[in-house]
Structures are given as structure tokens and as C-alpha cells.
């Protein structure tokens, strides 16, 4: 277990300084869209929330934190870093994410746009508006910091003139659709996940014929228990030709990947991920489908450790079944 006060200080400082929870260059958020012809204006705006793009950076950052948990001097170092936020500065200078992971996160977002296009859903995207929702501030109880950060997000979104915001991960979806609405921070806009839009327009999507293999489905806690996104991923996988294998705990009764406490208690987090990967591997599926970047990272790591099946984002599974 790491020092909570220090972790919170570092998190709040990072977001205040850069708008992002971990040190990463701003272009990391939108470089996936370069070369794609996505309009800047439209009724339906894609807001990624940045989690997929930040994942490779979060991976490096988390592994640095995990090392501190093991060291006797780690607590002292972290407390000093939290006090002066120097860890952020040091980390900002040395974070070098894996190129393969950066490319994978780009492919995920590009696949989502391709799928929406195949479903006949035209989305707009503005790199200057895209950013981090501030969800970790809210989860950690830093409400004042969250409200300040999100006010800026809400202003930017409102200025685009879009009526519907399309999200790509459960954490951003939950903040925009449920938390911000409850707090009165985003009253006018409709928020939908790309999974809901794809499911609504599924008859437009031209998937390849034939079987695609087996996939165990790992429901995100927020999608399943807070946002009622349970049927849509199943419908999409089935139509794409996959045989879905349900783990012992699925749907509304899904089991967490352990990811939300990765920065506070890395060892406990990885033990939970290992327990979950065991349940998913027990289905005998060829691949494990996730629909959240945090689940993807945590379960992928656990599957590597346990020698389990590959863990793949749902968007990639669906996109590889699109007719060319």
C-alpha cells in the first residue's frame, strides 16, 4: 500500500498543471486521428476522454509506483515526492511508453471510428476539445479539483455546438452521463457510448460471414452496474461471428479487474486481476474481450503472468470482422 496523501497530491498537481493524470505530451491525446478525415463540426461529437491514449503512460507510471511499494525507502521517497510533486517532474522527463502499446491504443480509437462509420454514424472530432474528464479526481474524493477541472471540459464541449457526445470508455461515460448530470455540470448534452450507437445501428454494419472463434466477455463494472451497457457488446460480438463464453461472474454480477486501485495498492490490484483472469481463462475461450482501457491493461498484464489467453479490446475484435 502506497502513501495515499502523496498519491493524491501528485494526481491533483499533474491534472492542475497539464490537464492529465500522468505526465504525457498533449499530442498523445490526438495523434491517433492524424491522417483520418473526420469532420471538425457536427451534431455528434467524439470525446475520447484520453484514457486509451494515456494507457501506455499509465503503465510506465504505475510500474514506477509499484517499485516504490516494494522498497523500504519507497514510502519516504513517495512522501517527499508528494510534498514537492517532484516525482511527477522526474516521471515527466523519463516516461517512455512502449511503442507497441502506443500503436495499439491508436488502433483501438481508429477502429472505433471505422466501426461508427460502418454503422452509418457520422461523428465529428476536435483535438483541441478532447482531453481528460477528471474521473480520478472524483473517485479519489478530490471533488473541488474535479469540479474545477470538469467545468473547463463542459465549457469546451458546449462551445462545439454538438448535441450528442460519443464516449469510448466506461469511466468517461459514467462521469459525463451520470456524475456530471447529477452535479448539474453538463445539463444539455446527450451522452452515448460508441457501443450503444453501434448496437442501435447494427443492421447497417456489414460483418464478414462465418465463425470468428470464441471470446470470453469481461464486463466493465461501471458499464454493467451503472450505465446498463450489458446487452450491446454481446449483440455486437454475436453479429460479428464470435461465440461468446460467459465467465462465472458476468453481466451485472461482473467481477472487477482490480485496476481502480492500481496506483494506491499495486500488489492487491494485481492479485485481483489474477483472480479474474483465472475465471475468464476457465471458460476455455481463445480470447478475452474487454471494453475498458483500465481492464485491458490490468487483465493483459495478469494474463501474461498467468499464461492465459490474449486480452483484446472489443473494438479490435469487431473491426477485424468488418468487410473490407
Amino acid at each position: 500500500m502506497l502513501d495515499v496523501r502523496s498519491i493524491l497530491s501528485i494526481l491533483a498537481s499533474n491534472i492542475k498543471a497539464t490537464g492529465l493524470p500522468v505526465p504525457a505530451p498533449r499530442e498523445a491525446l490526438y495523434s491517433w486521428s492524424e491522417g483520418l478525415s473526420i469532420p471538425k463540426d457536427g451534431d455528434t461529437l467524439l470525446y475520447t476522454g484520453g484514457l486509451y491514449q494515456l494507457l501506455p503512460y499509465i503503465e510506465v507510471y504505475s510500474s514506477q509506483l509499484a517499485k516504490l511499494e516494494d522498497k523500504r525507502s519507497g514510502g519516504l521517497l513517495l512522501r517527499a515526492a508528494g510534498r514537492f510533486s517532484s516525482l511527477s517532474r522526474i516521471a515527466g522527463a523519463i516516461v517512455r511508453p512502449s511503442k507497441r502499446e502506443v500503436e495499439e491504443s491508436k488502433r483501438i480509437l481508429q477502429s472505433i471510428v471505422r466501426l461508427l462509420d460502418a454503422a452509418g454514424v457520422r461523428v465529428a472530432y476536435r483535438r483541441e476539445v478532447d482531453g481528460y474528464s477528471g474521473v480520478l479526481l472524483y473517485d479519489m474524493g478530490l471533488d473541488d479539483d474535479f469540479k474545477k477541472h470538469f467545468a473547463q471540459v463542459a465549457r469546451s464541449l458546449a462551445q462545439t455546438g454538438a448535441r450528442t457526445i460519443v464516449t469510448v470508455d466506461p469511466h468517461t461515460t459514467h462521469v459525463l452521463r451520470s456524475v456530471a448530470r447529477r452535479l448539474g455540470l453538463l445539463p444539455e448534452l446527450e451522452v452515448k457510448t460508441y457501443l450503444e450507437l453501434l448496437a442501435e445501428n447494427i443492421d447497417n454494419i456489414n460483418f464478414k460471414k462465418g465463425r470468428a472463434g470464441t471470446a470470453a466477455i469481461h464486463d466493465s463494472c461501471l458499464y454493467a452496474r451503472r450505465e446498463n451497457v450489458i446487452a450491446q457488446p454481446r449483440l455486437l460480438l454475436e453479429r460479428a461471428g464470435y461465440q461468446i463464453l460467459e465467465p462465472r461472474r458476468s453481466g451485472r454480477l461482473t467481477y472487477c479487474c482490480g485496476g481502480p486501485i492500481e496506483s494506491i495498492a499495486p500488489k492487491l490490484s494485481s492479485r485481483i486481476a489474477l483472480a479474474r483472469i483465472g475465471e475468464l481463462a476457465d471458460t476455455g475461450a481463445e480470447r478475452i474481450a474487454t471494453m475498458c482501457p483500465i481492464c485491458l491493461a490490468n487483465l493483459k498484464r495478469a494474463s501474461r503472468t498467468a499464461g492465459g489467453p490474449p486480452v483484446v479490446d472489443l473494438s479490435l475484435l469487431l473491426a477485424e470482422r468488418l468487410e473490407a
Binding site: 517532484s86 454480477l253 482490480g258 494506491i264 485481483i272
Partner: protein, 120 residues
Amino acid sequence: MSGPNTIDRLRTWISETAGRCIYCGFCESVCPTRPLGPHRGYGPRGRVAMARLVAEGVTPLSNTVVESVYTCLLCAACETKCPVGLPIADIIRAARRLYTLEAGFSAREEKGRVPAIARR
């Protein structure tokens, strides 16, 4: 943004809401951290009890309490089993909010004593 009234309101809300817990423990069977944690503070029943005791001023916000509320995943699996329908994840988040207020996170910002990186 936040002042003493916020803390009082938060304490009252936690006390009243967590006070509805009947300590049946059904929630513990589905909590991912409970079987892997070192003590009962790593399960929903323990977390709710601690949040209530802290809110009512019976227990201080000790390291054990902070550890307990910050190792919660907020996954809300516990809520699927709660017979009284407690918003357990909201109670835990409120306890975290109480901690950040008591620990002076908001006050520190208001006084401008933000860490160096925030002033870059």
C-alpha cells in the same frame, strides 16, 4: 468551495446512510478485496462501519481507516447483494471526500500552497 458546513453535511450524510446497514455481511461474498486483504476493513461491511464511526467522531481518520476506504475499487459489486439497498460505493467516496477535506487538500489550494509542478 468547501468549508466547515460541507464537512458537517458530509458527516451527517455518512452517519445517516451508513447507519442503515444491518451488518448482515451478504456484501462480503462478492467483494474482490475482502478475501485478499489482511483484515475486515478490506470488505464493504468493515468499510461502511469505519466510515460511520469516523463520521460520528467515534474513531479518528487513522491510517487504517484511510487504507480501508482507499483500497475500495468502487466496483459496487457489494450493492448487488445489499438487502437494504445501501449506496455503498457512494458512502466510501464520501468517506474519501471527508479525508481530503480533513487533510486540507482544498484549504491548501485556496491558500496558494500548491506544489511546484502546479505553478509551472
